[in-house]
């Protein structure tokens, strides 16, 4: 009990102190989290209750303060949104090539954007009178890129921590509490063409916390508050100064925690076990970071034992294991690799029918190079169509957000990238980025 409120407090601290700009967002989410925990505490023994009363009074004041903050924020936010709605015009983009991803390439087509959504796509759709026309006849338009594993915006400084350094198991920790959408790196990444990303804790904890899916800009930036739990069976998760220190220790720790989750009843509240329960019930996906053959095999064993809904992240080695992977893969940024065998593996994975997505591991690599990763994969044997889908719709499907993003289709969010040439040519530069129908980046502009 003490433990769980500890971790909640620490989480609160993270949101509050780790960065100045993000504090607002952190405060909102941790305040909610905090309320949630204190509401779910009815079964405390009386003694402990009295003990906690004093502390709670102090905390109630804090919560009040936070509620006050939330009110102020939401007022200013709605004002902002009003202005944003004002700014958000309907658009009619005439493009040389429209890479719909799900329905081929339309030459000399038009995309109509209304209220931040794609209203029509085609050769000659009816253009509403009040729509602003964008002439991109010598350019290509593709859906916004999806970075399937990133650590962007998690700290004010580029050397900030993305890993919990004391506790190895924190499934209740939510990375969203540390995310700062106003961070310099996030703004800079707007020019990369990435419009949606999964943000996750780092690779250094066996059960690190919950990932979130966000857009890089706009009023409606949060796609999934909790997109799944990040696991790591990589070497990075082995520490010399705390458990686990060995691979066997790592695997036994993960099994123990999952078993705990399995047996979790609701008689006493435990936020960690609660999350792990939904993991073993298959309600919440897991992202397992693993690289070498033994790590992939270990990950696969756990997936089978607990029947997890899993996605593998990394998969740097293990050509022998390609057949055994049998779940979607978020592959390492290719620019962090250099040997031919690593660069060719992407196509080997795709060849056995595994669904792929690319990732930047930002700030590990530049989000701009998400597209570069796909191009290198094509140079080393990946089918160009698969490469394009892996950057967009396949990534969306793996992350479970394909209803909203990932292709240029009527009804989907108007997240678009306008390029000076074909998407899979290195020489094509990003000319314009649109998120939720709003132009958020323009080359040569602001």
């Amino acid at each position: 009990m003490q433990f769980s409120s500890d971790s909640a407090d620490r989480q609160f601290c993270r949101g509050r102190f780790s960065h100045a700009n993000g504090a607002l967002f952190g405060a909102i989410s941790s305040a909610k989290h905090y309320n949630y925990i204190s509401l779910r505490r009815p079964n405390l023994p009386i003694l402990e209750n009295i003990q906690n009363l004093a502390i709670n009074q102090v905390r109630v004041r804090e919560v009040k303060l936070k509620i006050f903050l939330i009110v102020i924020l939401s007022v200013s936010f709605s004002c902002h949104q009003l202005r944003a709605a004002d700014k958000q015009q309907d658009l009619a983009i005439r493009a040389g090539k429209i890479w719909t991803v799900t329905d081929g390439v339309i030459a000399d087509g038009v995309i109509i954007i209304k209220d931040g959504k794609i209203d029509a796509v085609g050769k000659d759709p009816r253009i509403p009178g009040k729509a602003r026309a964008l002439d991109m006849q010598d350019k290509s338009v593709m859906p916004g890129l999806i970075d399937a594993h990133s650590h962007l915006g998690l700290s004010l400084d580029i050397f900030g921590e993305i890993d919990e350094t004391v506790l190895p198991v924190t499934p209740d920790m939510r990375i969203l509490d540390a995310f700062n959408p106003l961070c310099h790196d996030v703004k800079k990444a707007l020019s990369s063409g990435v419009t949606t990303m999964l943000i996750a804790p780092g690779h250094r904890n066996p059960i690190a916390g919950q990932a979130a899916i966000v857009k890089l800009h706009g009023g409606d930036w949060l796609l999934k508050r909790s997109a799944g739990v990040k696991f790591s069976v990589g070497n990075e998760a082995l520490m010399s100064d705390r458990e686990p220190t060995s691979r066997s220790g790592l695997m036994s720790l993960i099994r123990e925690e999952l078993d705990n989750g399995k047996e979790y009843g609701r008689s006493e509240f435990d936020p960690r076990r609660e999350v792990l329960k939904s993991v073993v019930e298959g309600k919440m996906p897991v992202y397992i970071y693993c690289n070498t053959l033994d790590e992939i095999t270990a990950a696969r064993e756990i997936i089978d034992e607990y029947n997890l809904k899993a996605v593998l992240v990394g998969v740097r080695e293990g050509d022998e294991a390609v057949q055994a992977i049998n779940c979607p893969v978020i592959y390492m940024p290719l620019l962090s690799l250099s040997r031919d065998k690593d660069l060719k593996r992407v196509s080997a994975i795709a060849d056995v029918g595994i669904k792929l997505a690319f990732a930047s591991f930002a700030p590990g690599t530049d989000p701009y190079d998400l597209r570069t990763s796909a191009i290198i994969a094509v140079k080393y044997g990946l089918d160009p169509e698969v490469a394009l889908k892996s950057l967009t719709i396949n990534a969306a499907e793996i992350l479970g957000i394909h209803q909203r993003v990932g292709s240029i289709e009527k009804g989907k969010d108007a997240d678009l990238v306008i390029l000076s040439g074909d998407p899979l040519e290195l020489t094509s530069g990003v000319e314009m980025v649109i998120i939720n129908g709003e132009i958020v980046y323009q080359r040569g502009g602001q």
Binding site: I158, F159, P333, L335, S336, S338, R339, D340, S360, P363, G364, T365, D366, Y368, D369, T372, I375, I376, V378, K379, P384, S420, L424, E425, L426, T427, S428, G429, V430
Partner: protein, 434 residues
Amino acid sequence: VVIRSIFVLFLLSFCILASASGAENIAIRAGTVLTISGDSIENGIILIEDGKIKAIGQDVNIPEDARVIDASGKFAMPGLIDACSLLYVIEGELNESRSIAPELNILDAVDPFIDEYEEVLAQGVTSVYVAPGSRSLLGGRGAVLKLKGGKTPAEMLLKGDVAVKAAIGVSSNNQSSSLTRLEHYASIREAFIEAQAYMQQKRKYEQELAEYEKKKKEEEEKKKDEEKKDEGNKEKPKRPTKPKSNPTYEILIKVLAKEIPLQIEAHRVDDILNALRLADEFGTRLILDKCTEGYMAADEIARRKVPVIVSPVSVSHTDMPKLEYRNHNAQNAAILSKGGVKVALGVSGRDGASSKFAALAAAMAVANGMDRDTALRSITLTPAEILGVAHRIGSLEAGKDADIVILNGHPFDTSARVEMVLIEGKTVYGSELK
């Protein structure tokens, strides 16, 4: 019978020797020849003799004995150069603990048996520039190596003593304060001032020695007329004492005499300006290396006609995050070259095999605003010029080494594949084309 068979064997071996000696002529017919130094030639012919380009053009006579490589419909271009490579060297072994160590030579760290080079070669890179790391302020001398295989560094060496590598304001372990930056600058400056003093001392000694030898000669001539009376100078000329030789300053005085350029790695714009100031003060030839924030001072760099090796084009090539790259801008190379700066591109990858991304780096520079031809030049002729090897490599011109890449498309196209690579007329990658 025995004699006859010996004779046949002799003939046979003679034939084999003749064909293996590389003295044969080769003619490459290519759909498009990207000469880099001039306009590209459609349906061009490149004639190779003794590993050198003998002639190039549309109407080149192909000698009857020449072996013809038919690459019609394909692209031929000079072998690519990675101007910031870790090939053949191990990064951890590139940094001396001493901060002033220009006497070190990268060639002593070259391991010819690293097999990564074959993968790099397969992407059309035929030469690389390897230089010492950035931990030392004056870290040693770099060299241009060819990827032709070999068992000793000497076999691969195209040019040694290319430049003395220096570093200003490069942090160790991502920690840096303003004071350390000042100290870096001051220490390098001090080393050069001491080298100047050393040079003066050395010159003085040489002058004195010349004088001494002159006097000695006169004395000897006088001695010949010994019967004459022993009037005049009685004191014998004294041989000047030779100052102690110092390997550090021996190299630095070559830099001061402009024999070897100074290559300064600088990232922040203040460090770049300091590097320019340092070169001005001592009148050295300067090559700016990395030059991460160069785009902020493009005019200043252009005005002084200082060439720049921009690397990496994308920070993804390095182990991020690094303090130096905080203001990295992918448009750096484009802004510098448009501002009139001579720009070569380096991959600056994580390991030796990363050099294979040379063409990729140039294509990415194009995506970020660099002119297509300038970008192609920045991985061929421009680095050759900056590194002082343009008389041998970097373009397809008569008289230069026949380091040639044949591709089935333009090197910047995603679908283009390298089909064949020649170094000095020898096929080092790919098979004969049909």
